[in-house]
Amino acid sequence: MRLLLFCAIISPMEPCKKKVTHMEALVPKWHRELELFSTVKPLLILEGNVLDQYRYPVTGSIPIDELAPLPKYLHGFLSDSGYDAVTFYSNLMGFMNPFAPACLDHYARLTGVKAEGGVIPAEFKGNKADTAPNIIRRAMSQRQSATATVLELASHYIVTPERMDQQDVNSFNLLLQAALSAATVRTPQGRRQNLLILLVNKLNDLPAWFYLNNPLCKTIRLEAPDREERKRLISGSAFATFFDSTVYRTDMPFYEAHPEELERLREKFVGLTEGLTFTELDAMRRLSKQERTPIRDLCQVVDLYKYGIRENPWATLSMDSLRHAREDFEKRIKGQGAALERTLDVVKRAVTGMNGLSSSSTAKPKGVLFFAGPTGTGKTETAKALAEKLFGDESACIRFDMSEYGQSHSDQKLMGAPPGYVGYEAGGQLTNAVKKNPFAILLFDEIEKAHPSILDKFLQILEDGRLTDGQGHTVYFSETIIIFTSNLGIYVKDEFGRRQPNVTMDMDYNEVESRVRGAIDEYFKLELGRPEILNRIGENVVVFDFIRREAGEAILRAQVDKIVRRMEEQKRIHIDITDDAYSTLREAALRDLSNGGRGIGNQVESLLINPLSRWLFDHEVLADAQVVLEGFDLAARPPCVCCRLKEEDCHA
């Protein structure tokens, strides 16, 4: 029974930890540089991500793959390399070795000082014989034991390199002399040079003369974990540590049966955590465990960690409201039944999580739509209606007028300028907007007017769902819907280069759709030579129909009702429009529908709003009144309205 049980423990689900040799392990570049240069340079400066923890990559005194703070890591590395007197110095505490106090005692004997309570007190600067640089110089020059002295937080020993006093200079000079006098010592691991290591946040926290053109010195840069290291952190049995035990036990069988899902999840997580340190990743791990995050929601922990508690509108979206979306949309957008249906299909796919099922990247935007069709047919309005439906607010529709991005350098406006260029600090308009609100509809109006170089960026967004701005921050588009609008296909050029209408009002919708789609295909494939962009959009081209008479009437009625309602609400002025007057307005407003709904709006403004305002002002009707609009004088310039006040409510 027991034997069988132990077989189960080492079953394929969680294999026993395999012994990893040095060559097999993923050894970060800085570790390899440390190995290489610690044998040839007595002075090493570790710069950058020095406050982080690091995964110990080799077999040694620290268990392989264990995350250790840098000092502990260095102690393990140096001890394993044959250094038997390793100490850590900070200008506040003195010399210490919390990991192996015996090392400190040994160091004290070698340098002729006394350790008290686990510390050798020593100031960084001063004229005494037992200042830290003097002790280090003695340690470096002796030949009995291999010593390594690590100066922690060395960025903070002086105010700034420009404001050093003579004692500061002397102290660094002594460190230089210590490096110059570094002795070589025999150890069981071979010959070792006594070593001085400085840990600094930025190299220029140190005086330049200390490291520039210094043949004794090697600077090693510590970066945030790269993709491979992040992947390793979430692979093998380490993956389990991201989850509460109960959650892991319940969820894992599904992922064992579907390893490709697990791999996809890991890939997405690795992508989303770019730029985060090991310490942050570890905090995220603990957060995930604490919140009892299901395995499928692992990537949401990244949002939780980065943005704090934020409702994910996608998760809280009411299915009921989507079910009635078509009716709601039709209240705002008239005469576009087919286009609305196509649009809602994409949204439903996003909500049910079926978007991207056919692709390898789950970090892609939730949906991509390409709205085409004549002007004023409701493309932008549909995007706004969608934003309101999905995110509860029209302002979640972030609009970019691509005619402003027609220059070759315009991509810097969207993504941010690179370091050293004007506007670097400001970041990019697009990347900033998505950083601020990752749950949004991004509307790129009149995409054909953007410079082709910008289309390359869109290609990346559509494919990978992310973009790195000029400051190096990666922005994720995985929670957005991207909508491009375009008037492509409405006009084409004839053989003389003249614009000719490609579609007209007398064509039915099917013909309009077919002609517009054909023209879009032609534009991307032949004119632009970028069929791959069209491929990313797939079948999501939505062609909006012309505003036809029936839709025009509905639009007009909606606009007039809105004006009447607003007057009533804001001014308590009740306006009655007689049937004759409305009929006159309708004939005038719907005479030319080539400009779509926007054209109707313009007519309403010039025939109704402006004349009515003028009449109200001239007759001093500013509030609390009933007005009857009896007709229009359209022959007058500007057009006028014929109104009268209802007697009983006549405003004095």
Binding site: M1, L5, A8, I9, E66, A240, T241, D244, S245, Y248
Partner: protein
Amino acid sequence: MPEQNTRPRALSDIVNDLWGTPASPEPAAAVAQHTPKKVYQSTFPPFEQLWKTADETVDWTDALASASPTDGLTSPRLWSFFHEHAGAVLKGDLNAYVEVLHAANPLGDLAPYAVSFDVEAESADRLRVTFEGSPAYLGAAEKEVRRYLAGVALRAARDLMALLPVRAVLAEGVSQGKTLLSVEFDRDELQKVRFSFIDPETFAVACGGVFSA
């Protein structure tokens, strides 16, 4: 689940298993010559603290990944035991549950509050713990008896959830074959509770518990 799996183990056995063999006792004569040295003191939670505290939660996923303690609190020997069993426990292997229950004896410190505890696994997700009420408490007024039953049930459920990755524990208090309380505690619900501020009886009722005492 076989009955033998739920038998309580002697504390000395557990200590032997997990922390090594204790030093041999000194000969009686030698002991008589010295001031007696306290080598062990059993501690039981006072009744008012019973449901307010619970055993430390075992982090099985950490134990699976690491052979040495990651929390800095658990003894290496105990961690090693968890590490060995983590794979099977996380697979929901009921035999592994049995081994872990025997080794850790999570309800051992509740001995003064019940005549016996029987733990059964209905599935890898759900345990049933049945405790025979202690006559010392069952003779009290009805209100007190209810408080006692709910307190023991809650504590037993918490201890079992701390040890094993189960989602629910059905706790039943019985006396002479009669069920006095039956209540199911859900891990998700317990996660939200601040135990110092609750009344066990009220909480048990809120969890759908039924008293027949």
